[in-house]
């Protein structure tokens, strides 16, 4: 299969270069006609209707599409290989893209870093927060959100709604971003009910529908009554929770219509705001932030609206915490904090704000989480 693919790729690439030369000339001549219309390209690693990671980005693209003077082009299912370089180059050469959003984490290094220096007239804004000042090209940027703040709120809602005091978390891999979500979700729940536990199941990869379904069923069999997740497409898990009559808390995008009874809330990206802000800056010719990060306060992440099963008292608690985040007073990680092996990971008196670099290399699960970070 791989051999065939490689062969096909080389065949088309050769063909494409010749075509490019021809088309480039004809498009260059036609270019002034569209001078006032800025072309913005979006690349997704999966399907943009996945009720998950890619859909969240596609909603951002849809908001950009609605802006005046902008033309949006999109490509789905672009693997994190040389394919993404080819796609970006054809967006630039064939469609005249002035701004490209490569939305998958693995697109940046080496792919954006290879293509960006060759096309100084185009700006590349990558989702992942990997930009390094001085080291990476000036026409590139990277942004990311502290979605664990939204997970903290979702944890409060889950903790306030759970009857068994047992929460479940289905995650792909034990990497820092995922562990941070698990820990924040658990700490949020524990702020309501200190005895609460979160059982973690790692499936091993970002999109394994059958394994995710098995994990959900196993958790439900253990008496867990709220499940959340960090996988690319939460649709299967949310549907199983609804079918088996337990609560679910979403991730990436709004999944409430999949579980009208059991959906509590969810941690969502707010890409429409981020993307329209970026496009506005570039339209006005202003400098853009090369490294953009933020959470609830900056409007990069948000929570889904509360489901019918959430009590008024729980909503009050969640809103109070949200208000503290909005005011910039909330610190999730502060001492004394122990991991689930009893080791002190943050000593008493110390508090780590969201921007603290130490949080980026999180390798522990807090007390109350059942699971381990090893594979």
């Amino acid at each position: 299969m791989k051999v065939a693919e490689a062969w096909l790729c080389s065949f088309f690439r050769r063909g494409r270069q010749e075509w490019l030369a021809f088309l480039f000339i004809s498009f260059a001549m036609a270019a002034p006609l569209h001078a006032e219309e800025a072309v913005v390209g979006f690349l997704y690693v999966g399907s943009k209707a996945d009720y998950g990671y890619n859909q969240a980005h596609a909603q951002g693209a849809a908001a950009v599409k609605a802006m005046p003077g902008v033309k949006v082009i999109e490509e789905e299912n672009v693997p994190e290989t040389i394919a993404v370089q080819n796609s970006m180059e054809s967006m630039i050469n064939l469609d005249g893209a002035k701004l490209i959003f490569p939305t998958s984490f693995g697109y940046y290094d080496p792919h954006v870093l290879t293509v960006a220096p060759q096309y100084p007239g185009t700006t590349f804004l990558h989702a992942g927060g990997l930009y390094q000042e001085g080291k990476h090209p000036a026409n590139a940027g990277s942004y990311f959100g502290y979605i664990d703040e939204a997970q903290y709120i979702a944890g409060i809602v889950a903790g306030g709604t759970s009857k068994t005091g047992k929460l479940g978390f289905i995650a792909a891999k034990p990497i820092p971003q995922v562990l941070r979500n698990i820990n924040s979700f658990t700490l949020g729940a524990q702020s309501v009910n200190p005895k609460i536990t979160t059982q973690v199941i790692f499936t091993g990869d970002w999109a394994l529908p059958v394994k995710e379904a098995e994990a959900a069923n196993s958790l439900i069999d253990q008496g867990i009554d709220v499940i959340t997740m960090h996988v690319d497409s939460p649709k299967v898990i949310i549907e199983i929770c609804e079918r088996r009559g337990i609560y679910s808390s979403g991730y990436h995008a709004d999944q409430s219509e999949l579980a009208p009874k059991g959906y509590l809330t969810g941690a969502e990206w707010n890409w429409p705001k981020v993307y329209t802000d970026f496009v506005k800056l570039l339209q006005e010719g202003k400098p853009f932030p090369h490294l953009l990060r933020g959470g609830l306060k900056e409007g990069i992440v948000k929570n889904s609206k509360y489901g019918p099963a959430v009590s008024a008292k729980t909503i009050e608690l969640a809103e109070a915490a949200k208000a503290k985040f909005m005011a910039g007073e909330m610190v999730i990680y502060k001492g004394e904090l122990k991991d689930n092996k009893g080791k002190v990971v943050i000593p008493a008196g110390q508090s780590l704000p969201q921007t603290d670099i130490k949080l980026e290399s999180m390798d522990y699960l807090v007390a109350g989480v059942i699971g381990s970070t090893g594979s």
Binding site: M1, A4, G46, Q222, V236, G245, S375
Partner: protein, 308 residues
């Protein structure tokens, strides 16, 4: 709402439930492949049938509101792919393995192309029968919620075994599969028998896809199969070309796949990559234990291009 926790009982229950839920697609694809290989042809493209079947079942169920029409559509697209395979392979000097790989990529590509608009909507599911309704435990009831398609597969395995062993047509399929010369001497239409076996096998694989999208995990997306069709083709070798063994092997693989998540849910948190690999380790062990340097694989059809 489930009140109580199951604890360690959850592990055997998850394996039982997993064997039935996750084993069904393996069962249909391996039965289909078993029939095709018995006629002397390998159809590696059944992964394509599975994915295309899953997509067309979901789409038809969504558009028509009837999941059973979806199952028929899945079987139908599976038959079309089978027919294409049979037609291409009927020409002299065409390699069935290469055609199979091409058709696998073709089937997956077509499914992705037409499947775009059906990733988001929720289609009506196939009904399940509650075999656990006698139990007071919600967990047992959930594990024993058995889909009708699984029961059909359960019935098809012995039926296919009986068909191959005891009927005139079954004898014809086996003869064509074992020796082209003998079959031709007997006046059997070799290509037509193989075509029929490939089309019927394609139908079964397509129905397996319908189970994936219409019951478990129960939605259409592009990562739905993640290679299950390929594993099922390998299962046939593991099952030594016997339909009943295909059934056992499918249950084993389905159950072993549930092991990783189930162990983590009771607190065995280390080594989940290892537990997730359990089905493959199991296959290796069983293959190693049953192979012999003295003879070729027992039960292998003599005309298969891998043995020629």
């Amino acid at each position: 709402m489930n009140g109580e926790a199951l604890g360690w009982w959850g592990v055997p229950l998850a394996i039982l439930g997993g064997a039935i839920r996750a084993g069904t697609p393996y069962l249909f694809v391996s039965l289909g492949e078993c029939l095709t290989e018995k006629s002397g042809r390998i159809n590696l493209g059944l992964e394509g049938n599975l994915v295309l079947g899953a997509m067309s079942a979901y789409a038809v169920s969504y558009l028509s509101g009837s999941p059973w029409l979806g199952v028929l559509a899945a079987g139908g697209t599976g038959m079309l792919l089978g027919l294409l395979h049979a037609w291409l392979c009927s020409f002299p000097k065409v390699n069935d393995i290469a055609v199979g790989i091409a058709l696998m990529l073709f089937g997956i590509g077509v499914a992705f192309f037409f499947g775009k608009p059906y990733i988001q909507p929720a289609a009506p599911h196939l009904p399940a029968l509650g075999f656990g309704d006698w139990s007071a435990s919600a967990q047992v009831r959930a594990a024993l919620e058995i889909n009708v398609l699984f029961l059909i597969g359960l019935g098809t395995a012995p039926l296919l075994g009986w068909f191959l062993a005891n009927t005139r047509w079954g004898l014809m399929v086996r003869t064509v599969g074992d020796s082209r010369n003998a079959a031709e001497a007997l006046g059997f239409p070799v290509n037509r028998v193989r075509a029929a076996a490939t089309v019927a096998g394609g139908f079964l694989a397509g129905v397996g896809g319908a189970f994936l999208s219409l019951y478990y995990p129960g939605s259409w997306n592009e990562g739905l199969s993640s290679g299950q069709g390929l594993i099922a083709v390998a299962l046939v070798v593991f099952a030594r070309w016997q339909p009943m063994r295909c059934l056992y092997a499918s249950l084993l693989f389905g159950g072993a796949g549930a092991l990783g998540p189930a162990l983590q849910s009771v607190g065995i948190t280390g080594g989940y990559y290892l537990f997730n690999a359990a089905p493959y380790v199991l296959t290796l062990l069983l293959m190693a234990a049953t192979c012999s340097p003295e003879r070729t694989l027992s039960g292998i059809p003599g005309e298969l291009s891998v043995t020629k």
